[in-house]
């Protein structure tokens, strides 16, 4: 009996999720110091209070019980309570998803527009001046620290020219952070589209399309783009999946209250449940988005579907 390929892929992610959570649990066990003391936040407490707290957190149980308890809770989405705020970690994460998601989408938009335009321009005329300029810009893009780009943007457009606000929640406060994230994405995307287009344009079916006398625009848009699209989508999917967990650096530069900023705070205050919850959320989102993408390829490219079946 054969299972549909997409069902098989869905089932296959269960061990991946399980392994990822196991690594997170294992790594956080290595944090030095007594977690109960961290949970109590350094306030002096009697032995009785400490014992009660240890029992309440389930830390009096043997490690393997704690581990199974952890897996069971993660599977149903119970991420525990923060040591610092005592709030449920799930709620704290939910409250921060929006700023991170907005930035991820904004950055993706800027990245796609820039990356596609530059990549196409470079790929259609390899070794021309557009190509040279694009590839130099891409190299500069991957070498520039994104926090430095962010600060330069703030300085020039926010402080000197005063075109855009540098703080706040509105859409105009999203412009500079989106450009910061987008510039980083565009560099890699442009390189990838360039090489995909160069390869596709040398294929026989493009020559056929040309021989049929199709206009150049139609050849690129209908024939070349459609076949060159999978590698760039993979790259964007991976980047978007990472961004869902918060653009740690950009959020810090622009003081955006997203998930990345929350993670830094959690690490600095040794808030173990919060660190654990955030990493579990980020990596799980990454795995699920990649799964969704893979299912999407089957729709975009029938060849992949038939190969897997």
């Amino acid at each position: 009996m054969t299972m549909p390929w997409f069902l098989r892929r869905v089932i296959e992610i269960v061990p991946t999720l399980f392994l990822t959570w196991t690594i997170v649990f294992g790594v956080l066990q290595l944090i030095p110091g007594d977690p109960v003391m961290l949970a109590l936040g350094g306030t002096p407490a009697s032995d009785e209070v400490i014992d009660n707290e240890r029992k309440r957190l389930g830390l009096d149980q043997p490690l393997h019980i704690q581990y199974f308890d952890f897996l069971r809770k993660m599977a149903v989405g119970d991420l525990g309570n923060s040591y610092q705020t005592k709030q449920p970690v799930g709620q704290m994460i939910a409250a921060r998803v929006r700023p991170s998601l907005e930035l991820a989408l904004g950055g993706l938009l800027v990245g796609i527009v820039l990356g596609v335009v530059l990549g196409l321009g470079a790929g259609l005329r390899p070794h021309g001046w557009v190509d040279t300029a694009t590839m130099s810009t891409a190299l500069i893009g991957v070498s520039m620290p994104s926090f430095w780009i962010g600060m330069l943007l703030i300085y020039v457009f926010g402080l000197m020219l005063e075109w855009v606000p540098i703080l706040g929640e509105g859409i105009d406060a999203l412009i500079l952070p989106s450009i910061t994230v987008g510039l980083f994405l565009a560099g890699g995307l442009a390189r990838l589209i360039r090489s995909a287009i160069i390869e596709t344009m040398s294929q026989d079916y493009i020559r056929t399309a040309r021989a049929k006398g199709l206009p150049n625009f139609r050849i690129v848009a209908k024939h070349a783009m459609r076949n060159a699209i999978i590698p760039p989508i993979t790259l964007l999917g991976v980047q978007f999946a990472f961004l869902i967990g918060g653009a740690v650096v950009t959020e810090r530069v622009f003081a955006r209250p997203g998930l990345g900023a929350l993670l830094i705070d959690a690490v600095l205050t040794k808030d173990i449940p919060l660190v654990q919850g955030l990493v579990v959320y980020t990596t799980s989102a990454y795995i699920l988005i990649n799964l969704a993408l893979e299912l999407l390829y089957g729709v975009l490219d029938p060849r992949i579907r038939s190969r897997r079946a």
Partner: protein, 286 residues
């Protein structure tokens, strides 16, 4: 047999300098490295001496890059900061390289279940965003410049291991490995004397392409407050400090950022060129 064995060092250097971009990279990198090594000679002031100039003073003839909040000379701090930033970058790559090569070679050589389980674990590790993995490791190790290097180094291990594993798989079936086996060479000997030398081009390419990222990632951790701590002169930490005075003293963030950018870009330029020479199929970073 390998590309390196064919190219004598002098020709390798000559070919590395073969393109204007790579030559510029070598010159910039050399300047930064020399500036860092000879920082005590070149820097006009003690990098940690406060009040050598007015607070947040603008760049001038006496203080080329201006001064920071504590009246420290930014130019001197950048020279000394280069020592830390570049050394940490090298340490980081060394950690990823050593452990990644070892793991990749061994699982590919053993094959079978070791390879399947190893590859699976590597794939799971690659599912962590690199910066999140590094932050997670810092959470365990504690905040310091050395731990930041360790964290970025460890988070790079799966990347190296994955590539070295694939490269090793291509070699293990080859005749020279078979004949070494037939002659009764021990497993360690085959790994060390037969496989490792043949993996060197791949490893060098990987390391040179990774060094820029390593410098950037450790500086990023310092910028986030998870690496080098004030008052240490380190580029990422200096940028973090400069962030608050951007409006009144932009030089506090422009020059450390420029140093970091130039370091990463020159390393990338040289790395791209090296990978082109040593592994023409790879054709640089994509």
């Amino acid at each position: 047999m390998s590309a390196i064995a064919v190219l004598p060092p002098r020709r390798l250097i000559a070919r590395t300098l073969g393109t204007p971009g790579a030559a510029a990279g070598v010159v910039i990198l050399a300047a930064l490295v020399l500036g860092a090594i000879f920082a005590p000679i070149f820097s006009p002031f003690d990098p940690n001496a406060t009040r050598v100039c007015p607070r947040l003073a603008a760049p001038s003839l006496a203080h080329w890059f201006g001064c920071d909040l504590f009246g420290r000379d930014i130019f001197s701090r950048i020279l000394y900061g280069g020592r830390l930033s570049l050394a940490i970058g090298l340490l980081t790559v060394a950690i990823s390289l050593f452990a990644g090569t070892l793991i990749g070679m061994v699982i590919a050589f053993l094959g079978g279940r070791a390879d399947r389980i190893g590859t699976r674990l590597l794939d799971v590790m690659l599912g962590f965003p690199p910066i999140v993995l590094a932050i997670l490791i810092v959470a365990v190790l504690g905040v310091s410049a050395f731990n930041a290097a360790l964290a970025v180094g460890i988070s790079g291990i799966p990347r190296f291991a994955r590539v070295v594993r694939s490269a090793t798989l291509l070699l293990v079936g080859r005749e020279f490995v078979e004949s070494a086996r037939a002659m009764g060479a021990s497993q360690t000997r085959i790994l060390r004397r037969h496989l490792l030398p043949n993996l060197m081009p791949v490893i060098i390419v990987l390391a040179s392409l990774d060094l820029g990222t390593a410098i950037l990632s450790t500086a990023t951790l310092s910028f986030l407050g998870l690496g080098a701590q004030p008052p240490t002169a380190e580029w990422g930490a200096m940028l973090n400090a400069g962030r608050e005075f951007m409006r009144y003293a932009p030089w506090t963030m422009i020059f450390p950022g420029l140093a970091l950018f130039l370091a990463v870009m020159s390393v990338n330029l040289v790395g791209d060129r090296l990978s082109h020479i040593l592994d023409p199929r790879a054709g640089g970073r994509v």
